[in-house]
Symmetry: C2
């Protein structure tokens, strides 16, 4: 398993590094962001459940055979305490032409605060029909 | 919003109550199991993201119009600390004839330890192709 020595101080940093590694198709960088134990869980859109480093690594290697996948996580909905954080995001998939694809993917990302900083514990992604709804206009009522 | 006064002492209790309420199509019992704040998230299989009590309640009311849905959560994969717990399960959907349907649904259920006991914070369900894989045989190697 790939290791990284630097402490990842915030959930935002590990999430940014996660989508950056997917965009570059960098399997070692990606796998280094997961918690070290084999409790980790990954569910790709329309796929079954993968448990543990070996199965999860193999699945991303297959995805990366055709290169990285550019994803912008948007519309973050975060729930956090000192030890664990759940980020629910809409994954905006960017086509090779630089435009958002008309696909609507939702991801629940669970992060754990480990002695080495924040790491990914679970990634559950699924597809919803149609395009992702537009960002709501800011409300004037508070 | 429906309230329950009893303290739910364990994650297992709130998860059992969640699937029991779905099986009976009991909207008030179901909604009382969620955390009280509007941070709650629900994603039904093949559907978009719902945030907050009102939207989540409406979605379950629509599902329950044709009655409850009997679901056995199996193959629990749990990650827990004192304040939060993530249960990843395979949802075995039971047909009206009492047999498991040939549908393979995976759910990530996030629970929060609140002053009133454990409550549901997020439910993310998605469909995978084919039947759910059989329970693995116990390994002889330890």
């Amino acid at each position: 398993m790939a290791k990284i020595n630097r402490i990842i101080k915030t959930v935002e940093d590990v999430e940014a590094a996660f989508y950056d590694a997917i965009g570059r198709g960098d399997i070692d960088a990606l796998m280094a962001l997961w918690a070290e134990d084999d409790e980790i869980v990954c569910i790709h859109p329309g796929s079954g459940r993968l448990l543990g480093h070996a199965a999860i690594r193999t699945s991303w290697e297959e995805i990366f055979q055709s290169g990285g996948v550019r994803i912008h996580p948007v519309k973050l909905h975060a729930i956090q305490n000192l030890m664990m954080s759940i980020h629910n995001v809409i994954e905006e998939i960017i086509s090779p032409h630089g435009q958002p694809d008309d696909i609507h993917v939702i991801a629940s990302n669970v992060y754990l605060n480990t002695p080495k900083g924040w790491r990914m514990l679970a990634h559950h992604a699924s597809v919803a029909p149609g395009k992702a709804p537009p960002e709501p206009l800011p409300s004037l009522l508070h």
